[in-house]
């Protein structure tokens, strides 16, 4: 029998089943809903069969791990060789407190650091700025100058640990500080490993924690990529992020499509700068959210790898297979955590983490169960880390590569994710690219609509959230949440003022003037920023210089 004949036979059998067996069952007990859909709105069939993957070509669409199109994974041995990096995003209070938390996590078996900065640092304000009032050290660690970074990384060997920094607007300054600490530790630049998020595009329409307008923001991103490609070869200069797009309300397909399209935009910017695709592309990295719909998420991650590989090969003519690798970090979706019955979140996080592992992530953050209430307590963050360790060492899911390949359902969903992403690509190309789409409010509107629809589903109980709109309970689960001491702000401001008194202020001014000069000339700013942070100029001072030249981003409000 040929493949076509086999499929025809299966179709015939399915039709027979639908006419004979199925109606009896449905007659006795009707299905729970008239239709089943996933988060992206895909109509989910009752059952999937070989008919649903009849066009799938194994070598063309899946291939082998470590080979094009990398659907099954970017490495040939995947988690059998090396487990994913267990990297818990953390930061609160003073640099000293977070340094203690880092050491605790490393002692508990974490394998990479991830720094959460506070809002003043993220938005380029020093801790004594009026905007910083009440925000210092609250949602992350406060870092105003190299002095704070030195304390934050004290006793942590930068040649052994890799560090991810969730920073965008002032990414260049914080990377410069990290390198400066490396210099002090005697670690050469080529030995430093880690990631700066440095993805400004998603800021304009999803996270919106950005300082400068689109054009200079992308210039700074490109400066960092160019500098790292030449001098810090083990650094991922950018982590192109879907996480925030999803958290802002996008569905899985939108997350995938918008993130990858942002990636395309950065590649174009680097090419315009005169860089060669195979020089910088191997270091581009990605960051996604893992939501609750297990198979939808798995399909998303697998489709992401395949689309990126094809895009790099076909659209940008990359030759080096590494340029086609999509290496990803995944974080479980904070939005799905509930304040009600918070211990239930441990289960949610487990399911979400499982999707990322089953789909071959390189790095993973698991949220803590108390994060709908506060920053995580030490106990909560330990359970989150243990969840990863249990998946890694007890569940057996990491023993083989891409175990869901060949599933009629998962392959069908993976194909559908790819098709719908390509539709978005065409639409965005027609709009003239990501920036015009942002200026037209396209992404913003797409996200707002999806987010509103999701909420309506919850409000109308078309979507059940356990403990929120069903299975609710009166009693509270008393949990102890972490509170940041309000004294942190006072102490931080005092230490900042001390620094400003004691540093060589003539040198600081000289460097800030030089930065102004270089920024106006449109040169790569990285070397000057490194020298400026080394003189202990603060984030606020450096950003002020650039604000004067570049202006500030104004949000386009789309409800």
């Amino acid at each position: 029998m040929s493949d076509k004949e086999k499929i025809d036979e299966i179709a015939k059998q399915r039709e027979r089943w639908e006419k004979t067996t199925l109606p009896k069952w449905i007659g006795q007990s009707p299905e729970r809903k008239s239709e089943f859909r996933n988060h992206s709105g895909t109509l989910i069939k009752r059952v999937y069969t070989p008919e649903d993957i009849k066009d799938l070509g194994y070598t063309r669409d899946l291939g082998f791990p470590g080979e094009y199109p990398f659907t099954r994974g970017v490495h040939a041995t995947m988690h059998r060789g090396r487990l994913w990096t267990m990297r818990q995003f953390s930061g609160y209070g003073t640099a000293e407190q977070t340094n203690q938390r880092f050491k605790y996590l490393l002692k508990e078996g974490e394998t990479g650091l991830s720094i959460a900065f506070d809002y003043p640092s993220i938005r380029g304000y020093d801790s004594d700025h009026p905007f910083s009032k009440g925000e210092v050290g609250i949602c992350g660690v406060t870092v105003s100058s190299l002095k704070d970074m030195e304390v934050l990384l004290n006793g942590i060997p930068l040649n052994k640990v890799t560090t991810s920094m969730t920073i965008n607007g002032p990414a260049a300054m914080l990377l410069a500080m990290y390198m400066a600490v490396g210099d002090k530790q005697g670690v050469p630049r080529e030995k430093l490993g880690g990631t700066t998020q440095n993805d400004v595009l998603k800021e304009f329409f999803a996270q919106k924690l950005i300082i400068f307008p689109p054009k200079p923001s992308i210039k700074l991103v490109t400066d960092i990529i160019e500098y790292c490609t030449k001098h810090v070869p083990r650094w991922n200069p950018i982590s192109i992020s879907g996480y925030h797009i999803r958290e802002a309300g996008a569905n899985a397909v939108q997350e995938l499509a918008f993130t990858l399209y942002d990636g395309i935009t950065y590649v174009e910017s680097c090419l315009e700068r005169g860089m060669k695709v195979d020089e910088f592309a191997p270091r581009l990295s990605f960051f996604f959210a893992a939501h609750n719909d297990l198979f939808e998420e798995i399909a998303k991650f697998r489709a992401a790898r395949r689309i990126w590989a094809k895009t790099m090969k076909e659209r940008f003519h990359a030759k080096n297979p590494r340029s086609m690798w999509m290496r990803m970090h995944v974080q479980t979706a904070g939005f799905t955590l509930t304040a009600q019955q918070p211990l239930n979140n441990i289960t949610r996080v487990t399911i979400q983490a499982l999707s990322a592992v089953l789909a071959g992530t390189q790095s993973l953050h698991t949220n803590s169960f108390d994060e709908a209430l506060a920053l995580p307590s030490e106990e909560a963050v330990r359970i989150a880390l243990r969840t990863q360790q249990i998946i890694a060492h007890e569940s057996g899911v990491a023993n083989t590569i891409d175990p869901l390949a060949g599933s009629y359902y998962v392959e069908n969903l993976t194909d559908e994710m790819e098709e719908r992403t390509m539709e978005y690509f065409r639409k965005l190309d027609d709009m003239g690219g990501a920036i015009p789409a942002i200026e037209k409010g396209f992404f913003q509107k797409e996200i707002a609509d999806s987010s509103y629809e999701y909420q309506k589903e919850v409000d109308e109980k078309r979507r059940i959230l356990v403990g929120v709109n069903d299975y609710t309970t009166e009693e509270k689960q008393p949990i102890k949440v972490l509170r940041v001491d309000p004294k942190v702000e006072e102490e931080q401001v005092a230490s900042l003022h001390k620094l400003k008194r004691e540093r060589d202020n003539r040198k600081v001014n000289e460097m800030l003037e030089k930065l102004h000069y270089v920024a106006e000339k449109d040169e790569n700013l990285m070397p000057t920023i490194i020298d400026t942070v080394k003189a202990y100029a603060t984030i606020g001072e450096i950003c002020d210089v650039l604000r004067k030249i570049y202006g500030e981003f104004k949000e386009l409000i789309v409800i």
């Binding site: 309300g249 304040a339 940041v484 309000p486």
Partner: protein, 135 residues
């Protein structure tokens, strides 16, 4: 027919955090419920919020904050409202406000506090029932 005037609501994002998903959903839900909604956008200082409330002559202010700075910023906003004579405006808040902070926030004059997981129709109903009547 002055009492036919639509309820005017200001949805405001004080502080530096950018979690606007809830604020935007609520803005849209209140609009769908027949209210007039003004959304400030992100990164609003207490002064800006109170000034907008005054300019827009609102009946209700909804403060949305998830950064943890409510203990600093809410007292500043409530004090400014008092100074400007906007004492009859119904002030409600949402976001991440720990249970143990709620009594302190209520003492400031914030009438309703709605945490994560609140249904939008619950908030709509609360506003209809508690909005001060215009004479």
């Amino acid at each position: 027919m002055q009492n036919q005037r639509k309820i005017r609501v200001l949805i405001a994002k004080p502080g530096l955090d950018s979690h606007d998903r809830g604020a935007k959903i609520l803005a849209r839900a209140l609009r769908d419920a027949g209210m007039e909604v003004i959304y400030t956008g992100l990164k609003q200082t207490p002064e800006q919020i109170v000034e907008t409330a005054l300019q827009e002559d609102v009946d209700v202010i909804g403060l949305s904050i998830l950064s943890g700075a409510h203990k600093t910023l809410f007292p500043m906003i409530m004090e400014l409202l008092k100074q400007k004579g906007l004492t009859d405006v119904l002030v409600v808040a949402g976001g991440i406000i720990p249970e143990e902070d709620v009594p302190e926030m209520k003492k400031l004059g914030i009438k309703g506090i709605f945490g994560p997981g609140t249904r939008t129709d619950e908030i709509i109903q609360y506003i209809f029932e508690n909005v001060p009547k215009r004479i």
